[in-house]
């Protein structure tokens, strides 16, 4: 980033209007892309910017957004977590099946515990035993899904009397007209941004992801940092699973299937560097939001389903290109 700014310096001296716009896009390529997408859909569909639809989209992305916070930290520290989809299924199934046995609060605590254990297990293998996170979490993706199937015996789990418990409020409720999952996501975004930007741990995350050798020589225990990153990811995925379970008041065995890819796609869209050391939680959320908007917008426009995939792909590639090109300071060539 700094290098890109240095390279752009001579361009800055010729301050024509175009150059100024280019400079703005350089810094905020993603934001520009976001507004282009929003502008396009609000012109194309009258319903798109209605308050109801905006809230709807925000609620739809809140679960992926919650997982994306953890994913951002894991990728920033230089690793991957492919297990989040299966862990969402597992924690949702656990919270739903436990709800009728032990009540809502203990059920949620158990689900969080499951998330923490899964995160700690991956964190130990990757952080302390130095195993490749891509392989380990790919294994967990399959393993956790298998645990779900063994646990439920293939059955749908559901809360027998959904009207007699407050548990559904977490996923379905509103506070001041804002869906509760969105508020939860907002709070988590704030907390983890502060952690990442203002604490020693946060700086160590960037340092371990950006330059592992240097950080090792400066005495940072990268094992602990990597371990913690995966535990955070497990924790947040469990929160997402709980919200999901509460939203549906039931859980299907394959509930979270494919989430890992949607989350990673969104996070990358949000400019988190795949090679580690660079990431911003809010930008990652904007990436997730773009994907959510595309899904919602295409349906509002009545796009044929298969073309939605193609269009989604084109836009993802386009946004990534715009972001990379602006960073290199070469939007205008």
């Amino acid at each position: 980033m700094q290098q890109a700014e240095l390279m752009a310096n001579p361009a800055e001296q010729r301050t024509t209007l175009m150059r100024r716009i280019a400079k703005a896009t350089e810094k905020h390529g993603l934001i520009v892309a976001f507004f282009i997408v929003v502008a396009f859909f609000s012109i194309a569909s009258e319903n798109f910017l209605s308050p109801k639809n905006v809230m709807l989209v925000l609620r739809q992305v809140s679960i992926l957004g919650t997982i994306a916070i953890g994913m951002t930290i894991v990728i920033t520290v230089g690793h991957f977590d492919l297990s989040v989809g299966s862990l969402t299924s597992l924690t949702a199934v656990v919270v739903i099946s436990m709800h009728d046995i032990v009540g809502p609060v203990p059920a949620m605590l158990i689900a969080i515990l499951v998330g923490l254990i899964s995160g700690a297990f991956i964190g130990y293998l990757v952080g302390y035993l130095r195993l490749n996170s891509l392989i380990i979490t790919l294994g967990m993706l399959v393993g956790l899904q298998a645990i779900v199937l063994i646990y439920t015996g293939g059955k749908y789990t559901r809360i027998v009397a959904p009207d007699e418990t407050w548990f559904g409020f977490i996923g379905r409720g509103f506070l001041f007209g804002v869906p509760l999952p969105v508020i939860i996501l907002g709070v988590l975004l704030l907390i983890f941004s502060v952690i990442l930007l203002k604490t020693v741990f946060g700086r160590q995350v960037f340092s371990v992801g950006g330059n592992p050798t240097a950080s090792k020589f400066s005495g940072i225990s990268d094992r602990k940092i990597i371990f913690t990153a995966f535990v955070i990811s497990g924790f947040l995925t469990a929160i997402a699973g709980i919200i999901m379970g509460s939203r549906l008041m039931a859980a299907q065995n394959y509930l979270g299937q494919g989430y890992e890819f949607e989350v990673i796609a969104g996070v990358i869209l949000g400019g988190v560097s795949l090679s580690g050391g660079e990431g911003n939680i809010f930008k990652a959320f904007i990436g997730i939001l773009i994907i959510g908007i595309l899904k919602n917008g295409f349906l509002l426009l009545g796009f044929p389903y298969y073309f939605q995939w193609v269009a989604q792909w084109v836009i993802v590639v386009g946004v990534v290109w715009l972001d990379v090109a602006t960073k290199r300071g070469k939007v205008l060539g």
Partner: protein, 348 residues
């Protein structure tokens, strides 16, 4: 992407002493080898356990390779009833295998069953195209094959004696009948379909659409959106459809009740549930409850028990050398709030 993966790998490697790295790799390889061995031994032991059924020469021996038992309650019940039916039928034994959703495994299981010399076999195909050569092998060996529950590719029809299962196209038609009746032949409908490319999803969609087009000119299908059989996705798609069409929606057709409950979540939140007519192509336990509560007006009863019984019944006929029709559908009756008391609540 690839370079990034290499980067990460190298990053991890940088911090490791070369000897330690080598040790770690050896260790990993060792662990993997042990795992593979354990799995092999385990599967052999498991297969042996199942072979015990294969003894007598006077009895009829039927082979079965299931799609993926345990993945959902439908397949779990199907497996249980299949076993019970065999156990309760005098003079019939079975070798029951499970492909666990892996088509390569299913192909080798069909070959195993050929070697065992079964008198007939039932195959619940994991993949309609990929199993065709294996089915042909059984055909060449003179073993009648019954395809169960889901169809194989048309190129394989000539090698199979018949198909035993539900008529998913009729299920779609039956759901259309329910919709036409509930809407009195007039209104705008949206459709939540299953997973695109999957035969059941396509048939249920086409059966519904064809019947509506031919019999109810007053009904318009506004949109057909896939849900991938995923409840969470069904809720989102329905939410988006409500934003787009709002009160214009008079009816919702869903590919099964799991999708239906997902759609219902969205309708309830929009305060539209109950006013909007919902019909489903396959009834589950929760859909049964929703019908009791007045949210689903028409559904289709597909019983995994009937499905399994039909499979065994057809296989026994074929094993005895009796003439078997190609299409052996079991009944999938229409369920409405009026007649639902005649049906047991599905346990899936």
């Amino acid at each position: 992407m690839q370079t990034d993966i290499v980067d990460i790998y190298e990053k991890a490697a940088v911090q490791m002493h070369p000897q330690k790295k080598e040790w770690l790799m050896k260790k990993t390889v060792n662990v993997l080898l042990v795992l593979v061995m354990v799995l092999c031994v385990g599967s052999v032991a498991f297969a042996n356990g199942q072979q015990e059924a294969d003894v007598d020469d006077g009895t009829i021996l039927i082979g079965h390779t299931a799609n993926n038992t345990g993945i959902d309650s439908y397949q779990t019940t199907h497996d249980k009833v299949y076993r019970d039916t065999i156990a309760n039928t005098e003079g019939v034994e079975a070798i029951i295998l499970d492909a666990k959703g892996d088509v390569a495994k299913q192909i080798s299981q069909i070959e195993t069953l050929i070697q065992k010399g079964v008198d007939a076999m039932t195959v619940w195909p994991v993949n309609g195209k990929a199993v065709v050569p294996a089915v042909k092998k059984a055909f060449d060996a003179g073993i009648p094959v019954i395809i169960v529950n889901s169809l194989i590719d048309e190129s394989g029809y000539e090698y199979a004696v018949g198909f035993a299962g539900p008529n998913t196209y009729t299920e779609g038609e039956n759901a259309a009948k329910g919709m036409i009746k509930a809407l009195d032949g007039k209104g705008d409908v949206v459709e939540l379909m299953g997973l695109p490319g999957y035969v059941t999803a396509i048939n249920r969609s086409e059966g519904f659409q064809d019947y509506i087009k031919a019999n109810a000119p007053g009904i318009t299908i506004l949109a057909t959106e896939p849900t991938d059989w995923n409840r969470a996705k069904a809720t989102q798609v329905m939410e988006n459809l409500i934003v787009k069409y709002g009160d214009q929606i008079d009816g919702v057709y869903v590919a099964d009740d799991n999708v239906g409950i997902g759609g219902l979540n969205a309708l309830k939140e929009a305060g539209m549930a109950g006013d909007v007519v919902m019909t489903s192509a396959c009834m589950f336990g929760e859909g049964y409850d929703a019908m009791e509560e007045g949210y689903i007006m028409g559904s289709v009863y597909q019983s995994p028990a009937e499905d399994a019984r039909k499979a065994v019944e057809t296989a026994i006929k074929a094993a005895k050398g009796e003439e078997v029709p190609f299409w052996n559908y079991f009944e999938t009756p229409v369920v409405t709030p009026d007649n639902m008391k005649d049906f047991e609540r599905p346990n899936f």
